[in-house]
C-alpha cells in the first residue's frame, strides 16, 4: 500500500506539482469505516487522497471544496439516480480518476453535470466513464486543467433536453485528450477558451456538433475523429486556430457538414480527411485560412463558400469523387487554388511533369444553380446538366472566371 | 362459303372498297380481276383480317370473322410479293411456319417439285425474286386447308414452275377446295377459273363465268372483253 501511494504520488505530483508528501488516504467501501464519498470528502483534509473501492454508491451533489485526489479502484459506480449533478469541484488542484458516474438529473433551468468544475484551476479528470449524463464535464472559469481518456455518453434525442459531453466556458490552457464522446448534444463545446489543446478525441453520433467552438482563439485541435454527428464540427468567431490531422466522416443529412467555419481568421487546416459528408467544409466569412494537404473524398460538396471569403489558400489537397468540388455563390473570387489533385480533372500532361497542362475549373455551373434553387439538385448527373456544365466550362458566364487551379496535379498527393 | 356484305374501306381519303357484297360458294376456282388499284388485294386482305374494313361484314362458313383469328387455320395464303425475314434460312422459315400452325405439312413434296433443295440452307435475303416466289408457293400449298387465297401467284415464275403451279391448283380443285386467285394473266384465268369476279373502282362490276363475261361484252377472247369493259367505263 505504501508503495502504491508512493507511485501514485509521483504520478499525480508530476501532473499537479502541488501534492504534499504528508497526505492521508481515506478508503471508502460498503464495509469500510467511511461508507460514502460525501462523508469521506467532509472528513478529509486538503491534499488528502480518497480511495473509493468497487461498488455502487447512490450519491449526488458531492461538493469538493478542498484540493483532493479521488481515486476509483475497480471502477466504483456513483449513481446520481437522475436527481441532480454528481460531483461539483469548487477548489483548485482536484483530481478525479477511475470512476463510473451515471444517471445525471435532467433540468431545464440548471446545467446538471456528472462533473462540474467552477473557478477551480489545475484539475485532472481522467479515466472516468460517464454514462447517461445531462452534461458530462462542465468547466467554467477554470484554467490549467486536464481532461484525459474519459468516456462520456448519453441518450440524447433532441437538442433542447440534452447537454454537452465536455462543456468548457471561459477557460485557458485546458488539455482535452483521448476522450470518447457519443450520443450527446455537442461532443465538445468550447466558448471563450484560449490557448487550449484538443487532441485524439473521438466524437460520434452526437445530435448537434461533434465539436463546437465559439469565440475561442489560439487553440489547436489535432488527430480527432468526428463521425456521423448531426451537423459535424462547427468553429465560429475564432482566430488563430490550428486544425490538423482530424477526420470528419459521414456527416450526412440536411444542413450537415464535416466542418463549418464561420467568421474565422488566420487558421491553418492541414492533413485532415473529409469523407462522405453532405458538405465537407462549409465556409462563411473566413479570411486568411490555409488549407494544405487535406483529403476530400466522396462528399456532396467538398468545399462550399457562402458569404465573403478572402485570401484563403488551397494547396496540395486531394479532391476525390465529390458531387461538387467547390461551390461559390458569387462571381467574385479572392481565393487561391493551386496544385491540388482533382479526380474529375479531364486534362492531360504532355510534358510529363506531373502537372496538368490545362487549368482545372472546380466550380460547376450546376453548383451555382443548386445554390440558387436547391430543388434543382434533383437533376444531378442528368445529361442536360452535363451539357450545361460543359458549355459553362467553355465560356464562364455565371461562375468566377478567374477561379482556376492553373497547375492541377495529375496524381493523388496525400496517400 | 364466304359471304361478304356491304364492305367499305377507305385509306385516308381514297375509297378502295365501296359497299362490296359478294358470295363465294364452296369448291372451285374464283378469279378476282380488275385494273390496278381496283381493290383486289384489299378485298383479299379483308378476308384474311389483315385489313380492317370500316363497314360491312365478312362471314366464313357462317361465322363473322371480325376480331377473330382462329378461322385462319383453314386458309392458306400466298401474298402478292414474296417478302421474308432476310437473315433466316429457307428450312428455318418453313419449320417456323409449321411450328406456328402446329400442323402436318407436305413440304418435302413441294420442295422437290420446285427444285428448292439446293437453297434450303441459304438465307432468304440471298435468294433471287423467282426463288423467293417458289418458297412463297411452298408455304402456301404445304397445308391442306379448305380455302386457298393466291394473290398474283404467277409473278416471277419460270415456265416450268408455272406449269407446276397450274397442276397444283387443279389438284386442289379436284380435292374440292375453294381457291381465290387474283392475276393479270388472262390466259391463266381462261384455262383455270370457274368463275370471275370483276372489280372496278371498289365495286363489283361483274360476277359470273368466263363465257358469260365474253357474252356480256360481245367479244370472243377474255383479254379483249376486259379491255372493252375498261374503255366503256372511262
Amino acid at each position: 500500500m505504501k508503495q502504491f501511494r508512493f507511485v501514485l504520488g509521483i504520478f499525480i505530483g508530476a501532473l499537479l506539482l502541488s501534492l504534499p508528501a504528508a497526505a492521508v488516504t481515506t478508503e471508502v467501501c460498503a464495509t469500510c469505516a467511511v461508507k460514502s464519498v460525501k462523508d469521506a470528502v467532509l472528513q478529509a483534509s486538503p491534499y488528502d487522497t480518497i480511495l473509493v473501492r468497487g461498488g455502487t454508491y447512490l450519491e449526488n451533489n458531492i461538493i469538493i471544496d478542498k484540493p483532493l485526489v479521488l481515486l476509483g479502484e475497480n471502477a466504483p459506480v456513483i449513481d446520481g439516480q437522475y436527481l441532480a449533478g454528481i460531483v461539483e469541484i469548487k477548489s483548485d488542484s482536484v483530481t478525479l480518476r477511475g470512476f463510473v458516474l451515471q444517471n445525471v438529473g435532467l433540468s431545464y433551468t440548471q446545467d446538471f453535470a456528472a462533473i462540474h468544475i467552477g473557478n477551480s484551476d489545475y484539475f485532472v479528470i481522467a479515466d472516468n466513464v460517464l454514462k447517461d449524463v445531462f452534461f458530462g464535464i462542465y468547466v467554467q472559469k477554470s484554467d490549467y486543467g486536464l481532461i484525459h481518456q474519459n468516456t462520456i455518453s448519453s441518450q440524447a434525442v433532441e437538442e433542447f433536453n440534452s447537454g454537452n459531453g465536455i462543456h468548457i466556458w471561459h477557460c485557458k490552457n485546458i488539455t482535452v485528450t483521448g476522450n470518447h464522446l457519443s450520443r450527446l448534444r455537442d461532443g465538445i463545446y468550447l466558448e471563450f477558451v484560449e490557448e487550449s489543446l484538443i487532441t485524439d478525441n473521438i466524437s460520434t453520433n452526437n445530435i448537434r456538433y461533434g465539436l463546437h467552438f465559439m469565440f475561442s482563439n489560439h487553440d489547436d485541435y489535432y488527430d480527432n475523429v468526428f463521425i456521423n454527428n448531426g451537423a459535424g464540427v462547427a468553429v465560429m468567431f475564432s482566430k488563430f486556430i490550428n486544425m490538423k490531422r482530424n477526420k470528419f466522416l459521414r456527416n450526412w443529412g440536411t444542413a450537415s457538414f464535416g466542418l463549418l467555419l464561420k467568421e474565422i481568421y488566420d487558421a491553418e487546416i492541414e492533413q485532415n480527411l473529409f469523407e462522405e459528408n453532405t458538405i465537407g467544409v462549409n465556409i462563411e466569412g473566413t479570411n486568411r485560412i490555409n488549407y494544405k494537404n487535406n483529403r476530400f473524398v466522396g462528399n456532396g460538396w467538398a468545399v462550399k463558400f457562402t458569404g465573403g471569403c478572402y485570401a484563403n489558400i488551397f494547396t496540395g489537397n486531394d479532391f476525390l469523387s465529390n458531387s461538387f468540388d467547390v461551390s461559390y455563390n458569387t462571381k467574385m473570387n479572392d481565393n487561391l487554388f493551386d496544385h491540388n489533385y482533382w479526380s474529375s480533372y479531364a486534362g492531360y500532361d504532355l510534358d510529363k511533369d506531373g502537372i496538368g497542362d490545362v487549368p482545372y475549373r472546380p466550380v460547376k455551373l450546376f453548383s451555382y444553380i443548386v445554390n440558387r434553387t436547391p430543388e434543382t439538385i434533383i437533376l444531378l448527373r442528368s445529361l442536360f446538366i452535363d451539357i450545361l456544365n460543359f458549355s459553362e466550362k467553355v465560356s464562364p458566364v455565371f461562375t468566377p472566371d478567374d477561379l482556376l487551379d492553373t497547375s492541377p496535379s495529375m496524381k493523388i498527393i496525400n496517400d | 362459303m364466304i359471304e361478304i356484305t356491304g364492305l367499305h374501306k377507305k385509306f385516308g381519303k381514297v375509297e378502295v372498297l365501296d359497299s362490296v357484297s359478294l358470295t363465294i360458294a364452296d369448291k372451285g376456282i374464283f378469279a378476282i380481276l380488275g385494273p390496278n388499284g381496283s381493290g383486289k388485294t384489299t378485298l383479299i386482305k379483308s378476308i384474311l383480317g389483315m385489313v380492317i374494313p370500316q363497314q360491312g361484314e365478312i362471314k366464313i362458313d357462317g361465322e363473322v370473322i371480325k376480331g377473330k383469328y382462329d378461322y385462319r387455320k383453314n386458309i392458306d395464303y400466298l401474298p402478292q410479293i414474296a417478302r421474308f425475314p432476310d437473315n433466316i434460312t429457307v428450312t428455318e422459315l418453313i419449320n417456323m411456319i409449321k411450328n406456328l400452325r402446329n400442323r402436318q405439312a407436305n413440304d418435302t413434296e413441294l420442295i422437290d417439285m420446285f427444285g428448292l433443295e439446293p437453297f434450303l440452307d441459304k438465307k432468304l435475303g440471298n435468294l433471287s425474286g423467282g426463288t423467293k416466289q417458289k418458297v412463297n408457293l411452298v408455304l402456301a400449298f404445304m397445308f391442306d386447308s379448305p380455302l386457298l387465297i393466291l394473290d398474283e401467284p404467277t409473278t416471277g415464275l419460270d415456265p416450268v414452275s408455272l406449269l407446276h403451279l397450274k397442276d397444283l391448283i387443279r389438284k386442289e380443285r379436284e380435292a374440292g377446295k375453294t381457291i381465290l386467285i387474283t392475276t393479270h394473266i388472262m390466259d391463266f384465268v381462261e384455262t383455270m377459273a370457274d368463275e370471275i369476279v370483276f372489280l372496278l373502282e371498289g365495286n363489283i362490276y361483274f360476277k359470273g363465268t368466263v363465257a358469260e363475261l365474253k357474252q356480256k361484252s360481245d367479244r370472243n377472247d377474255l383479254e379483249h372483253a376486259i379491255a372493252t369493259i375498261l374503255s366503256e367505263n372511262k
Partner: protein
C-alpha cells in the same frame, strides 16, 4: 406468344447489332473496372451511360426492328395467330434481347472483378434493373411510333425526337421551371415532374442508392421522406412498371386497328 417472342428473339440475337451492343457493354464494363479499379466508382460512371444509352438504343432498335420485320409480321398476320400476340411477342423479343445484351455484357466484367464480395451488388443490381426498365419503356414507345407511321423516315425522326425530349429537353424545361418558380414550394412539383419522365426516375433511383440521398435531403424533407424509404423506392419502381404497361397497352390497341 412464346413462339413469336422466340422467333423475334432468335432473329435479333443473331443480328450483328446485338453483338455490337453486347460487346459495347462488355468492353465498357471491363474498361471502367480496369481504369477505376473500384466497383463503386464504376457504378456511378455506368449510371451516366446507362440512363442515356439504354433509352436511345431501345428507341432506335425498336423502330428499326419494327420496320425491318414488316415481312415477317405480314407472314404472321396470315397465320391463325392473334394480332396482339404477334406485336407483343415481337416487342418482348426485341426488349429481351436488348436487356440480355445489357445484363450479360455488364454482368461478365463485374463478376470477373468480384462483384459478389462487393457491397455494391445491390446498387449494381438496381442499375441493371433500371436499365432493363428503360429498355422496356423505350422499345414500347418506339413501337407505338412505328405503328403510327408507315413512313420510315418519319418514324425514325419522331422516335429520336422522343428520346431527345426525355433525355435532354424535358430536364431543361424542368430546370427552367424550377428556377422561375423558385419562390414557391417546389417539393411536390419536383416529385411529380420526376414521375413523368422514366429517365429522371431511374436516375434518381440509382442516385439514392449511391448515397446521394443526403444531397436530395438538402432540398427539403419531402424528398427524403419519399425517396429515402423503402416505400419510396417501391413506388418508384411501381411507376416504372406503369410506364411500361401503358405504352404496351397502346401497342396492343394500335395493332388491332392497323391495316397491313
Amino acid at each position: 406468344m412464346i413462339k413469336v417472342l422466340q422467333y423475334s428473339f432468335y432473329d435479333l440475337i443473331r443480328s450483328r447489332w446485338s453483338y455490337v451492343y453486347f460487346l459495347f457493354y462488355l468492353v465498357l464494363g471491363f474498361a471502367l473496372l480496369f481504369l477505376n479499379n473500384s466497383v463503386a466508382k464504376s457504378v456511378i460512371t455506368l449510371m451516366n451511360i446507362i440512363i442515356v444509352l439504354t433509352p436511345m438504343i431501345g428507341t432506335i432498335f425498336g423502330v428499326m426492328y419494327f420496320y425491318s420485320s414488316r415481312e415477317f409480321t405480314e407472314l404472321l398476320l396470315a397465320q391463325p395467330i392473334k394480332r396482339t400476340t404477334i406485336f407483343i411477342g415481337q416487342y418482348l423479343g426485341v426488349s429481351l434481347s436488348l436487356m440480355l445484351s445489357l445484363v450479360i455484357g455488364l454482368g461478365i466484367p463485374f463478376m470477373f472483378y468480384g462483384l459478389w464480395q462487393s457491397a455494391e451488388m445491390a446498387n449494381f443490381g438496381l442499375l441493371l434493373l433500371s436499365g432493363s426498365f428503360l429498355t422496356l419503356i423505350f422499345v414500347a414507345l418506339a413501337y407505338n411510333i412505328a405503328l403510327s407511321n408507315d413512313n420510315k423516315i418519319k418514324g425514325f425522326g419522331y422516335a429520336i425526337l422522343v428520346w431527345l425530349f426525355m433525355a435532354v429537353i424535358y430536364d431543361g424545361m424542368f430546370l427552367i421551371s424550377l428556377i422561375i418558380f423558385e419562390d414557391y414550394p417546389l417539393d411536390k412539383f419536383t416529385l411529380i415532374a420526376t414521375m413523368f419522365n422514366p429517365i429522371d426516375l431511374s436516375r434518381i433511383l440509382i442516385l439514392l442508392k449511391l448515397d446521394i440521398s443526403a444531397l436530395l435531403g438538402y432540398t427539403g424533407a419531402i424528398f427524403q421522406k419519399f425517396f429515402g424509404t423503402h416505400a419510396g423506392i417501391f413506388s418508384s419502381l411501381l411507376v416504372l412498371v406503369i410506364w411500361t404497361i401503358i405504352p404496351v397497352y397502346f401497342i396492343a390497341r394500335k395493332a388491332s386497328k392497323k391495316d397491313f
